[in-house]
Symmetry: C2
Subunit: 498 residues, 2 copies
Amino acid sequence: MTLYEQYRMHAQKAADLSAAQAMMNWDQETMMPAGAAIRRASQQATLAEFQHEYILNHIWPLVQELKGQDNLSAHQRLNVEQDYRDIAKRVRLPASFVAKLTEETARAQFAWEQARKANQFNRFESSLQQVIALKQEEADLVGYEASPYDALLDDYEPGATAAQLTTFFSGLRPELQAILTQVQAQPPRDYRWLGTTVPVDQQWDLTMTVLKDMGFRMEHGRQDRSSHPFTTSFGMEDVRLTTRLDPNDFTNALYSSIHEGGHGLYEQGLNPDEYGLPAAQACSLSIHESQSRLWENNIGRGLAFVEAYFPLMAQQMPQLIAGQSPVELFKALNQVQPSLIRTSADELTYHFHIQLRFELERDLIEGKLKVGELREAWNAKMKADLGLDVPSDNEGVLQDIHWSLGLFGYFPTYSLGSLYAAQFYAQVLKEHPQLLDQVRQRQFKVLLDWLTRKVFRAGKLTPAATLCQQISGEPLSVQYFLQYMKQKLSLVYGTYFH
Amino acid sequence: MTLYEQYRMHAQKAADLSAAQAMMNWDQETMMPAGAAIRRASQQATLAEFQHEYILNHIWPLVQELKGQDNLSAHQRLNVEQDYRDIAKRVRLPASFVAKLTEETARAQFAWEQARKANQFNRFESSLQQVIALKQEEADLVGYEASPYDALLDDYEPGATAAQLTTFFSGLRPELQAILTQVQAQPPRDYRWLGTTVPVDQQWDLTMTVLKDMGFRMEHGRQDRSSHPFTTSFGMEDVRLTTRLDPNDFTNALYSSIHEGGHGLYEQGLNPDEYGLPAAQACSLSIHESQSRLWENNIGRGLAFVEAYFPLMAQQMPQLIAGQSPVELFKALNQVQPSLIRTSADELTYHFHIQLRFELERDLIEGKLKVGELREAWNAKMKADLGLDVPSDNEGVLQDIHWSLGLFGYFPTYSLGSLYAAQFYAQVLKEHPQLLDQVRQRQFKVLLDWLTRKVFRAGKLTPAATLCQQISGEPLSVQYFLQYMKQKLSLVYGTYFH
């Protein structure tokens, strides 16, 4: 065995350990009996510790040695260099710290669930405080220049910083605000019929049909229910999606499934021959989000898609669709309306939700905001940005699972994902002008093939910024997203958005 | 940390790795998409290899050192000595062999499933041959005196041998044959109404009610569907049962659930404070089977149980129960009738199925029977023992999953389990003469508490033979089972069985 082959073998085994951890997480969210939470947390901690030690003891020495060798192919070199970058960061975290963080976040997740049951943020406070303290410790261990938040952000969006994002959101905010002002000048329309009760079994069937049409291979994955939709992978051949079913809001299930389906297609589309190596890992979280958002918003909430599925919906959920037209449904699905819950926010105001979270989590990690002040700060921002009072913690600070999992620095990638999605969407339409005709026929093969070629098979060998340049010929720009929003809203409101 | 505390900590981590493997297996049987089989097999191999190495590198040295120390409590010493015995056997198997066996059996399981779909044994032959070759290699590595089969048997029933079992079955066979002859002299009765179609949802509800009544804690476990019912555990707080639902045979689901529920109660009843140590492991497979069989047969197919659940069945499955009486249902459930499928065999002819498998697998492992001759040998024995022609492989040699999993030496523990069950059942009735009155009230607490005290909390610190002596004051005897069968069949057929 060459040194590179040894490295590859160990990387595959580390990926097998990742798969076991992913399965324990998936099971926890979908199947696990409640009484198993404590034991599960400690089992997850053990697996995380094993994996950490395995990477450090078996992969890290090989990667360091391979990095100096000049007999690697260009492709092999890219794998080695990416793993070198990733592991060099990891080396700074002792195994005991990783185990502690894993165990604490599993506990915090349980506390968050309990707090949601009680609809009381204070039941989550002490757990959250513990997690933040550990994430601050992590930032110190990893190191950073300007802000401890940068060290955490780098895990999801390599190279991005708090300062950059602060600037980015400052630029986007007035543009969004201008569009929102114009929307709010429109006469209100009544789309309450969208909340007609649809039995969850009918909703489920629709989501399964759409996922299969998108090209999600059910022989290499499955969909289940969970309280917060997510996607996880145990390898390209076993990708798990979850969705949330709400009898009084079928859009929740449909667009959760399409969103997670976008993530799932990315995971199923990674190169199985490179299992365990960076070449078979997702580029970055924002690129992952670009996939879910492109399918959910640019495609799924587009008029062509609504026209395509209207007959099926009329058949599967007649109680909702009776007397409506595709265009009316399209308008209903794309109404801009400030609201409390991020996951059901419209495409425009969604980004206010992200800014809010970004600013709060940045301040929490930088120690400028205390957990005891978080609830109030959240509610104040919701009032200032979107003019809304937060009537309960479940509709406010308790709505997202992320912080309980220790995912600080994750939220901004959602907004970046929308921007990448808009830019990629513009590009694929340029290259395939007939794409929307295909969507109208429930045909997504050309789109999926394009994404496979351009995005999935690039793996993690190309940084997000470079990938964007390769695909679209330009760096990331907010203009594609703003242009896409204005064009769509012009159609929705029947007035010119500028 | 004392040496014993270190040992205990490592044993807990090894148990966490076991839990991850158990979960991968459970998921494979209940949830996994078909296209993931190959990757899953290699992931399972990796985990088995990690665990093997972990035990050898971290637990084995401590156990060897602790074995020589005289400052342990009696209880601690029992844990250490049992692990010493178990690991000493394991040490003889190289990690690479364990990984190969795990991977090969995962593949063989998939081949078995495919062969069953095609109803063609020959599609499974080459995989089975591979597994047998590995099991023979395992026997050579572990070592044995008389037969390589002994080395495998010892994993499930420590100390038992092929020669002992051959003698045991020779003794049991004429007794069973005599009873069967007497049964076959009875006028036939028509119980085809037992095959009335019952929607699987109604069957499911009944199994869940019964499991909860038995004391299976749903906050520490769950039930799912699979093609072959099984029980697995990720710790005492997360025990997973599966059942099989057949619209035209509700007894399949009900008695599979009760059977697995008996296993599950054992797993939930192990001492959580000793997680990872022999004190919190099951005594032996035959003792595990004694639990499932005591619940399934001695309790579940008894008249008191049938009387207890008759009103509920009449309510939940009126299409089946209409016009019947508890006594008629009891008789229908206990008809002795030679049949092809082990898992649906009656309590008496069941043991012919086990003898058949025992003799075939013994001969396969000893090299006296070739895989190419197996199908014919199976069919010939079914004809000789039970007078039945085997019309298809799925009803013959392909019916059990065990051999695909490499479980050679496992089948005999089913018969031993029935004997232990009968002996324990006689004992608990002696100590609690009111037990059947409680069963008639769907009250199982006294029984469960008795089993917890006598069996579950004994863990693996007491050998099966000693446990039997402790509980019943005698060594294992076939007389309790024969007496129990004769008594039941006297009631069923209304004639004296002698």
